[in-house]
Symmetry: C4
Subunit: 277 residues, 4 copies
């Protein structure tokens, strides 16, 4: 009696692993992405109807696809163990929520845009890239915190000193932080500076020290972390594959054990010889 059920799941596993099936899924995601793109143009009502029916078709296909992948698992719980699967599930089910009011149409369309992100979850190379990025995040966390503290202090000082000069740019601490972000991207920062220099001639110290702290030192730290992560991965890969200098050093270490054993055997034999005498 359990046989057919088992048989069923096997078939689903086969479908899930099928290259053809994967290609179809990728094509449908790209089609769905293009549909989103088309809706931003002014298209006639006929096209709107076509798009509406295509949207229903895509939604149904995604529902079928995710069901296949859920059924293919031994336990449904296993499916939800992967973050990517949870993401896929949310994106697919979110577009099932019926929207009647005109207000909600905007939200429904926004949700459909996230379907494009499914490309990342389905193409392995993109998933690896994303994982590499995510790996770098915790190390970046403290750099971002340090940056935030610097922004906060400068924004507090700026808001306190320059509020009366230009309240649009320095009105409160949050506006001042946005202005400082603008300065950090070098976007018309001299306009901001010349304005305050008319009142405080030495306010260039404020801007220059801020630019040095953020744009130069911290951007470099970010680059440093990214490179560090990349290099560690590069080294690890080389060690395992035996390629490059990292691979050769790993080989030398592994090999030295073999040499040790031979030397031990030789020492044993020598001892035997000297003792015999």
């Amino acid at each position: 009696m359990g046989q057919p059920a088992f048989h069923w799941r096997d078939r689903f596993v086969a479908i899930r692993g099928n290259k053809m099936f994967e290609m179809v899924v990728i094509s449908i995601i790209i089609l769905s992405a293009m549909m989103i793109g088309v809706t931003t143009y002014d298209v006639g009502p006929t096209w709107m109807t076509v798009l509406h029916f295509l949207d229903i078709a895509v939604t149904v296909f995604f529902l079928v696809e995710i069901s296949v992948r859920m059924v293919a698992e031994e336990k449904v719980r296993n499916f939800f163990r992967s973050g990517w699967n949870i993401f896929d599930f949310l994106v697919v089910t979110a577009s099932l929520i019926p929207v009647d009011e005109s207000e909600m149409v905007l939200l429904a369309r926004l949700l459909r845009i996230f379907r494009v992100l499914r490309l990342i979850s389905i193409i392995p190379e993109l998933r690896i890239l994303m994982n590499a990025l995510v790996t770098a995040i915790p190390r970046m966390g403290y750099v971002v915190l340090l940056m935030f503290i610097i922004f906060y202090i400068y924004a507090a000082v700026g808001s306190l000193m320059f509020e009366k000069i230009n309240s649009v740019l320095w009105g409160d601490i949050s506006i001042a932080m946005l202005t400082l972000f603008r300065v950090a991207t070098f976007e018309d920062w001299t306009d901001v500076m010349y304005e305050t220099m008319a009142v405080y001639p030495f306010s260039w110290v404020y801007y220059l020290s801020f630019i040095f702290l953020t744009a130069f030192v911290f951007l470099n730290m970010m680059i440093g972390i990214v490179l560090d992560v990349m290099q560690t991965e590069h080294e690890k890969f080389n060690q395992e594959s035996g390629e490059g200098t990292a691979g050769e050093v790993h080989w030398l270490k592994e090999h030295s054990e073999e040499v040790d054993q031979r030397l031990q055997r030789m020492e044993g034999m020598l001892k035997q010889l000297t003792e015999k005498k």
Copy 2:
């Protein structure tokens, strides 16, 4: 009978490999580049005639040069095996197409500009640089794809939300992507932001998150890949030349085999000694 033909090809091979001939070709390419430059200035009709005849001379020279290189090959097919040769052939033959109509003159002049690229195909150091760039392209491919997905999603959201605020910047998804590229290069991005913040006060989240995703994280990944490619090449070169740490590690690995053989011989002799007893 085949002797003279063989004799002829040998002579062409000699011409092709001649340093002097190479120098003349480079000089003619630079002359042709300078001619293109001169035509962008307003020069008198006398100069125009001179340039016209010079252009014919250059075209004929390139034709002769490429013929020499084709004849120098054992089989013409071999000539087309190199991508650089195909490129040279296309550039040279393209300028042979006769242009009578005034409309086509622009196209003819555009084609002549590509002759400057022949400098890359003829100077070995530039060819190496280009190959290094081309090697990095496949690894960059997925980063570019990821970037494109992010641009596409943000452009879809931007076009949906901000179209009514400024249709010149957010009219449809392609215009929105161009606007986002502008934001990614920090070019007057605050003007774009302040405009939408007047309607949606929290739209700074949209811009800041976009800038973080593109300008910071992905630019770094690009740099990471370039450095990775450079480092791998640097290591490979060092290993082969025996220079640097990579070279020394390679020597150690090669050398350890020699040590192994000596140890094996010694163990053999020791066994002999112990067995004899």
Copy 3:
């Protein structure tokens, strides 16, 4: 008699090392930071009174906290051996200075902003980051000096040549240096250039050579130093932990001594054997 005193200090050491106590201190610092943020908004008089009393509470808490840490030391002198402690002490005591006049209120508020920096001194990960930055400073010193010389020379030339064209940008050497910093950040630098090119058509050489010297070459040197510092630290960490290629090489070096000793023993035994014969 000394027992109770000893007992007291032990209790303070326990408090200082308490995770709970650290959390409370961090919370109070964050609260104090948020209070600074709130004052930049236009808040009613009721809130101002609340903030005033909260400020007194925070000041008292910081005083108690720093006293605990000072008493916990065997000698008060030890407390002032750490740069971070001196920094904390200055920040805390500075806010104790009574301010009556309205002029001084601004200064008092500015001093309170520096309390946010105490977050860096209390979170170990941020302290490590800051130390890494400080380590890189001496090596950066000479690069900054070289940059300053280049800025100074270009500013002197610019002030000499362009003063009559636009005295707002090139009036004296300090204004000219600020203008050059603006050019180095690419901020509307073409406006500056087009203005002088109207008088000196070849002044683009001045700007382009300056941009090449600063933005390209020196920024890269900065990045180079940051990476170098990061790499050295990464290598040192790997060597100590035995991870990565650096760790394996370190293991090989340590291990080679062991092999040497065995070989020495074996040679000794062999000598014995040959001599006996």
Copy 4:
């Protein structure tokens, strides 16, 4: 008879190597730099007279200083072997040329600015930095050439296509290259693009491809080369000092010879033993 002459030169060598003398020279260079700075401000006639006499004093001091260093050499020819010495000599002698006409005063003042560069030639750390930069130049040469070719081709195309739209930006090939440099620095590049997009809607391809080729790929190559040079130097230094992984690998290689000799001795003894039997 040659004794006193020898005695004299020794004294000059002692002066040249004196730390105190070096400090005085550096102070005088800094004083001379500050004098240049002061002249860019509007100072009264009294100060102008003071500056004039100070300038004469500085010129005389530099003359004496360079004479000391020339006499300290065994042969004057040796002095001119170092590029830095030639540079110092030119800077010092250039300010000796008498200037009477008012026209030449500007040139004389420009020449005095170059005295600041003497700081680089006299501080060893700055000289090392400059040498590192100069080492990187030949490798950068081909990248710059490749960049120039790309700029030239794009400028030719731009000048051909956009001249009628805006002759100020695209008038001839040299103006077009300047405009493209502006685009490469992201300085108001969208203004340039929007103008041409009004005529050729697809001209964004021209700008985006140009930005990708220059700003992204080539800037990265530049960084790559700088890092490569830095890393090679870092590795070389570590190898020699025996620090870091590079130093340990170097030690391992050196040490392996010692092991080889011991093994050879042992094999010899073993052969002796087996042959005796």
